[in-house]
Symmetry: C2
Subunit: 323 residues, 2 copies
């Protein structure tokens, strides 16, 4: 069994030398620009771990992992265009640097390249892998659409279950599918795959709740982001949607008033309201709930427990960040 | 053997009831909007013809044909965004109706759906089909990038061979790949596939030359487009690129001056210059050259000649439009 760090090292060796064609220069420069903005590579490593949960890692899993990471980067390029985001992990976003048309195409060509890696997967399992990949890809697009629609709504018009569904599509589904694809390659049965998929889905939601929590309550120096960045951007987070759900009429008016404020005063005032509404404690309990559910599904997978260790360690690593 | 019309009828029956999921409504309404703007379905029919050139049409070919038509519609949605085109076949374009973000996503999800149809193809040929499809998809993206770059250049900065390469990528490659994929499904050998691919490539170039010719010299009532639409838009067509190539210094200056004009005066003046430079005759000779080359490659394919009849008829149908 291999740890996250070990798998990451092997994956990076393959992925960092990723070659696009040379011409047209601008198109592939745009694609390369995205790939050099290095991410955490959680999804491809989940794919490798999904494989190793059931069997030794095979070449197919590396091809799938590369495809998944390319797909993820494709979504980031297109999401940044749609969200008009000037930055991505503190670097200039692709469309800001190369313009929207080239950024659209760079995303398109990256998605096609993702599918080109699936081609190398053993043909007897290729149809299932292709289906799992397509399914996840479609749901991620649906999640992004819902996210955009929710951003235009007043928070009182976003029921918590609809919000949760959107987050599941936009974030969790790809984590779950990465594990699922690895497991398919590892020869897992349907029941085990089901539990592994649900593990990934619940893990993703717990991770997103934590992310929203850290933005407000985390140590900005350790977290590496501006405190209250989501608040300043009026972003619909778990915390904000919940706050509106449980607020009384007067508190809702106060939240509405906060939306009009700017700067540190806004952050301070929203945090005060969150404290009145015990949002911090609620978020911590929700994160624990989803983490427990994830671990319950992991437990249900019928393999010897030592095989589960890297995934258990990953849960700790991902979900024990307090800053 | 089936004619274009017969194959079209069968294909339309399958494709017209194409179902996207219901939710999110806006995303799939945008996708549906594109699909109801009906095209000529040349590419999927080429795929079916590629199959039937070598064997009876099988289910795999229909799945591939649907995938190819979805892919083509995906490129139209994204191209219209990049080109800021308000109309597509006289109807409002997807991004004009649903906004750029939803149009980007509708294109993305349509591309994913295209790949979902490939999943149904027999697994022993799936890797080859997937590769051919990916290869074509990548080249089409490259062609669109080059097209955008050329639109920013002065025509004297576009050598004819570079222009031809761009058109081949943007237009011909998908026609060629549609035939190739059909042939792979029909069990064709490498040599036959090579000639069929080249047939499609040359056919595509001949078709594009004719399209440019019709814009200027066709009968606008029969052609169904405004005469000189390309001229009014300063579009880099075969005709314009050639005109700049062979013009002397004085004629180039006159062409440059025309670029600044508007309306019917512009169309009239450019046509006069084209006549001075014998562009009409040049284009007709070029179209004939590429048509002959296409037919030569068709001849080289080792199947009994009656099997080639539908493709020969298609060549006549596509390339004998004089208006």
């Amino acid at each position: 069994m291999h740890s996250f760090r070990e798998l990451l090292e092997t994956f990076e060796k393959r992925f960092n030398i990723y070659q696009f064609p040379q011409e047209p220069v601008e198109l592939y420069d745009a694609a390369r620009h995205m790939l050099q903005i290095q991410g955490k590579r959680i999804r491809p490593i989940l794919c490798l771990m999904g494989n190793e949960l059931f069997d030794d890692i095979v070449e197919d899993a590396y091809e799938a992992a590369v495809a998944i990471e390319l797909f993820h980067n494709f979504t980031l390029i297109h999401d940044d265009i749609m969200d008009q985001a000037p930055l991505r992990r503190r670097q200039i976003s692709v469309h800001e640097k190369y313009g929207v048309p080239t950024a659209i195409l760079a995303g398109d060509v990256m998605l096609v390249q993702a599918y080109e890696h699936l081609k190398y997967i053993s043909s007897e399992i290729l149809p299932d892998i292709l289906h799992a990949f397509n399914q996840a890809a479609r749901l991620v697009c649906e999640g992004q659409q819902l996210d955009m629609e929710f951003e235009r709504r007043h928070p009182t018009q976003i029921p918590m279950d609809a919000y949760l569904h959107m987050i599941a599509l936009k974030t969790s589904v790809l984590l779950a599918a990465s594990l699922q694809i690895g497991a398919l390659i590892g020869g897992a049965g349907d029941r085990n795959i089901h539990h592994l998929y649900e593990f990934g889905k619940h893990l993703g939601i717990a991770f997103q709740i934590q992310d929203d929590w850290l933005d407000v309550f985390g140590d900005p120096e350790k977290f590496g982001k501006q405190q209250g960045g989501d608040i300043l951007a009026n972003k619909k987070t778990f915390l904000l949607v919940k706050a509106y759900e449980i607020a009384d009429a007067a508190q809702r008016q106060q939240l509405d008033a906060c939306m009009q404020l700017q700067g540190q005063q806004k952050v301070k005032r929203v945090i005060e309201l969150f404290e009145q509404l015990h949002i911090k404690e609620w978020a911590e309990a929700e994160k624990k709930k989803y983490t427990d559910q994830a671990l319950h599904h992991l437990e249900e997978i019928a393999v010897i427990s030592s095989r589960k260790k890297p995934l258990e360690e990953l849960v700790s690593y991902l979900l024990n960040r307090t800053s």
